[in-house]
Subunit: 293 residues, 2 copies
């Protein structure tokens, strides 16, 4: 059920991304090819699905939700392209395929990331994303905060520095809250902004996003310890080999799994006021902690 | 006169940038230090001055114009940080100082650029930049278009590829129109957006910005051929040594200087309908072709 909903919505997101990305032509065709390679090469589309499913709570037009979700996915894709660079995490493979700087070159990868980041804001500010400019402006502001120095980019900076030092549990939690939590939370709150929900509704969906973000990260780290490399499309045990501190490393597998389930339960409880229409979101929370890849 | 206006407005832009950039504290302090180093290390502030001077034509509140100008300057600064990277132009010095990846490291430089780009849109979308959300949304959209694949980033992609091939005059012109012209043009149109000017006023200022952008680029290339390295803070003759194609290389110094003056004259003529209040902008156009650094 939820797998079908994620697959169908993910396919709709893919079609929207294909329509929003520039066609690979003109003198800068190489840039557009690299952007398309970075974005259209697969991925679970979890973030844009969250935007669509939260927007559905408010009856938002599908095209508006898909455009906002596509913008979120562009930011996610840019962050992967830049994180994979030699100066950052130096990864040659992503989802079993050569990373952008391997397939193209470093300069093109840097520019493709920059241009995806820029295009995300162009898409959100376009009247086609919502007729009310107050909604568009708020979409831009919230996504910029989540992606910026007090969000994802700040988390990546802390992560880069942390590899050389010891991290306590609280440090790991706050790092992950920035690096992955902020973007998952904003994926959910954008739906409430599109739907012009109340402050309480927005706060509930923000909390839901933060909880599943934390659960998602633990599940990711569990997969790294226990997962099947073929199913994941990347090497297992990479975190430990890289000396990366995770909550799974700190807690052990059993406690980590329990904490992930507790986070998913708390996320589900935050949706109580939305009643039956939030069933898809509840299923996503459960799916996040039960994933195999 | 115009030098004093540029200096005073530039100082006000610097103060606004200092207020908008995050203080260098917290676990991601290194990121914020690098952003501040990239932005606050000098520069002529031509682009934000253009935003302020065009906004003045419409009586826009100074704080609104300075915030929009600061956002433009953040985008300009991010582009310099990324262009200077080893994988791009590989420059160790900028304005006589170590570039960001030399003073910090490559990963920090990539992230600082990303975060400046993101912060620019956060600033524009903030209600403090303008009370009307339609204005804020349009500021975001226009700046994203100018900085993106059909603007500055697209121009940088073409420039990177062009170094290995022959460029005709039309190619050089269109490359420069993207790489530097689009951002100079949007610096001017943002003033008209803030002032809720007519489409004709916006088009006149866009044309003004494109013309002085083209004139600015020729003046820059003339300085590279003839300039005093000490006044510029970078080595003269660098373009020719790098095999970079410029209009000055194609035309020779005398014709290039004439073309730059003709572009400045055309830019000035575009301001006729604004009358006496556009005197500062006219002086900027003349200053651009008469600069020594």
């Amino acid at each position: 059920m939820i797998d079908a909903a994620l697959r169908d919505t993910g396919a709709a997101v893919d079609r929207m991304l294909d329509a929003l990305l520039p066609p690979p032509s003109g003198p800068q065709a190489r840039l557009f090819e690299a952007m398309r390679y970075a974005v259209l090469g697969g991925g679970k589309r979890l973030r844009p699905c969250l935007t669509v499913f939260t927007a559905d709570l408010f009856g938002v037009a599908r095209v508006h939700a898909l455009r906002a979700g596509a913008a979120v996915e562009m930011i996610h894709a840019y962050s992967l392209v830049h994180d994979d660079l030699p100066a950052m995490d130096d990864d040659d493979l992503r989802r079993g395929q050569p990373t952008v700087h391997i397939r193209f070159d470093e300069a093109t990868a840097i520019l493709a990331g920059d241009t995806l980041l820029t295009l995300a804001f162009e898409v959100l500010a376009d009247p086609q994303t919502h007729p009310d400019p107050a909604v568009r402006s708020e979409l831009v502001r919230l996504l910029a905060v989540a992606a910026g120095g007090q969000g994802m980019a700040g988390g990546q900076m802390i992560d880069l520095m942390a590899e050389q030092s010891d991290l306590a549990e609280a440090d790991i939690r706050s790092l992950q809250a920035l690096k992955t939590g902020a973007m998952l939370a904003v994926s959910c709150t954008l739906g409430a902004v599109l739907g012009q929900g109340t402050a309480a509704e927005r706060a509930a969906l923000d909390g839901f996003g933060r909880d599943i973000g934390a659960a998602f990260q633990i599940a990711d780290d569990l997969l790294d310890v226990e997962g099947d490399a073929a199913a994941m499309g990347k090497a297992a045990g990479k975190d430990a080999a890289a000396g990366k501190k995770t909550l799974v490393g700190l807690w052990g597998v059993d406690r980590a799994r329990k904490e992930a389930y507790a986070l998913a339960d708390r996320a589900v409880a935050r949706l109580d006021s939305f009643g039956a229409p939030a069933e898809t979101l509840r299923a996503v929370a459960q799916r996040v902690v039960n994933r195999q890849n």
